[in-house]
Every structure is written in C-alpha cells, then in structure tokens.
Amino acid sequence: MSGKDEAELSRLMRAAIAGDEKAYADFLHRIAALVRGFVRRKIVQGGVDPEDVVQETLLAIHVKRHTWRQDAPVLPWIYAIARFKLIDAFRRRGRRIEIDVDDIAETFAEPETETVSERDINRALDGLSPAQRSVVSAVSVEGRSIGETAAKFGISETAVRVSLHRGLAAIAKRFGQGRFGRE
C-alpha cells in the first residue's frame, strides 16, 4: 500500500510544483486523509483535537513545500512534519492544561456538535489584518476563485494572490510560535 501511495503522491507533488493546481488539490486531499489517520492513531486521550493537528500539518506542508527534495520519497517528509506538529500540539496543551478544564467539560457535554467554530485556525485567522482575513475567508470558507474574490473586493487578482499568500504564511507562523488569537 505504502509503495503505491508513495509513487502516486510524489507524482502529484511534482506536478503541483510544476504548476498543476488540480494535482495539488488531489495531493492535499490525500495527505489530509493520511495525516488524519496518523494523528487519530497517536492521540489516544482527549485534550488535542486531531483535526486541528491535521490543519496545522497541511499548512506547514504548504508553506514548507520547498524543503521537499524532488528525488526523495515524499511520505517520510509528510510524516516527519505531521509528527513535529503533533508533538507541538501536545506540548502546547501541556502548558495550558489548567485553563482548559472548562473546555474539556463542555466537550464531554456535547461531544459531536460544533467543534468547527472552536478550531485553532479560526482564532489564528482572527489575528490577521482585515484585508488578509477577508481574502483568506473568501477563498476558503466562501469557496470563491481568485477572480471572483478580486471582483468582490474590487482589487486586482495579483493583490488577491499576495494577500492570500501572506495571510496563509502568517497563520502558519502563528501556529509555529504557538500564538492563536489577536495580540
């Protein structure tokens, strides 16, 4: 299984780096599933939300994709990043464990509903500049294309691309530094 995954994922990643957006979307969806499985196996007790770690890992994979050597296997690279982000999440949780008692109680009370609004990434998004936040939201949550987003805000496509790129980089950086809210 791993050998086939490896060949297919490397191919998609190489195509993505060469500019194939469809290959990149395909790559990211497969990676999300792989990392989700990995993280869920590793998190045996509560405290860390697996989906937060999946999202942090995807962002890190995106902003650090220049660190992958195209002649090296891609799976060890992906799992090394996922493991790093998982350890980071545990370490952070260890630090804030006392503040989080109430959150945990609530989680027990209604385990399945509305964890979406509690995502770390939403808090990180809130910390962005208004321009970056609205562009990132338009492209992600509202699912608009670059062109549609440009039309919506009355700015150029280049400006949308720049805001999106800087916004994503800023979120990734906040995750790396363990900062999530507005400072």
């Binding site: 500019g19 979307a25 999202q55 890190a60 220049h66 090296a72 990043i81 790093f84 998004l125």
Partner: protein
Amino acid sequence: MRTDDLIKALDADASSKAMPLQSAWWMAAGAAVVIAAAVFLLTIGPRPDFMAAAHTMRFLSKFVFTIVLAVSAFALIRALSTPGASTGRAMAWMAAAPVLVAVAVILELFMVPEALWGTRMVGSNMMICMGFIPLIGLGPLAIFLWMLRYGAPTRPVLAGAVAGLLAGGLAATFYAAHCFDDSPLFVATWYTIAIAALALLGALGGRFFVRW
C-alpha cells in the same frame, strides 16, 4: 474553517514559488564565506609568514581540522533542515574532525618533550583566538539560523547547535591563517572552546528563533 475549505485556500496559493531549500543552502554558504572573509581581512588578516608556514605540517593540519568540521557540519545541517531526511551518516561524519584532532594531539605528545606541553597548549594568543573565532563566526551563524527558519528542522535545538559548529568551522578556518599557535595542543583546547561557544549560541537561537 473546515479542512476542505483550508485546502481550497492552499490550492489557490499553489502558484506561489520559493527557492528550493537545497539551492538556498549553497547560496547561504557562499554568503557566509564572503562575510567571514570580509570580517577576517578587515580585522586581523593572515599572518605575514603565511607562505612559509604553509610548508609546515602543524600549520596545514589546522586547516584539515577546521575544513573537515565545516564540511561535515554543512552536510548534517542540510539533512537536519529537511523533514524526514536521514541524518545517521551525516551525524557519524561529525566525529571525523574530533578524531583527527585527537590523533594529532597524541602524535604531538609523542613528538614534543613533556616540559613543553604546557607552553604549547597555552600558546601566545589564546585570548585573540577565543575572541576572533566567535566574532568571525557571528555573521555566518546569523545566516545559518535564518536558513533554518527557511527550512523545516524537526529538531531545532540540535540544528541550531550544528549551525554554530558550521559557523565555528568556517570562522576557525580563517582564523587559523592568522594564528601563530600551530600546535594541536593549542587547537584542541582553545579552538574547541571558541567553537563550542558558537554552538551554544546556535542552540539557543534554535530554541527561541527557529519556530515554524
């Protein structure tokens, strides 16, 4: 934000480009050599009898130690800044420079009478050695720590320490061209202390500066 939504945003940003890490490392190495050379030439510069000294084994041996350290640290730091890259072999090569120094020290102890061991070790300018190796290495260390931020080291403290060893090996290579103390006894003592100081600084940089 759902994960699928995040993927839409990442995909829309697919066209953004960054220089491949491995190419960036070679450029960083070039910049670090230039900065170290500039600081060296503007401050202490090579010793006046450089050409004559270049015919002696002890003088040349200093460059073997420092260049071997720099080359092995460069190989290791490139692996450490790449997630999932195997580091075992590069880690093993880090023993090469210390082993060479140890062999040279043993040879020196056989060749030099016991009464001179102390003077050879203390040398004539250990304070300059301990001051200038870190001074020449500071610029390169800053570049290498920036590079670690650009990369993705999963062991940032270790990677930072190796950045210090790399900066130290590079700085010591220049410093060795200035220094009159060529005995392995001197090198093993004072160069080691000066390079270790850079490694410690690098480890601190890795801990507090290299977050991703």
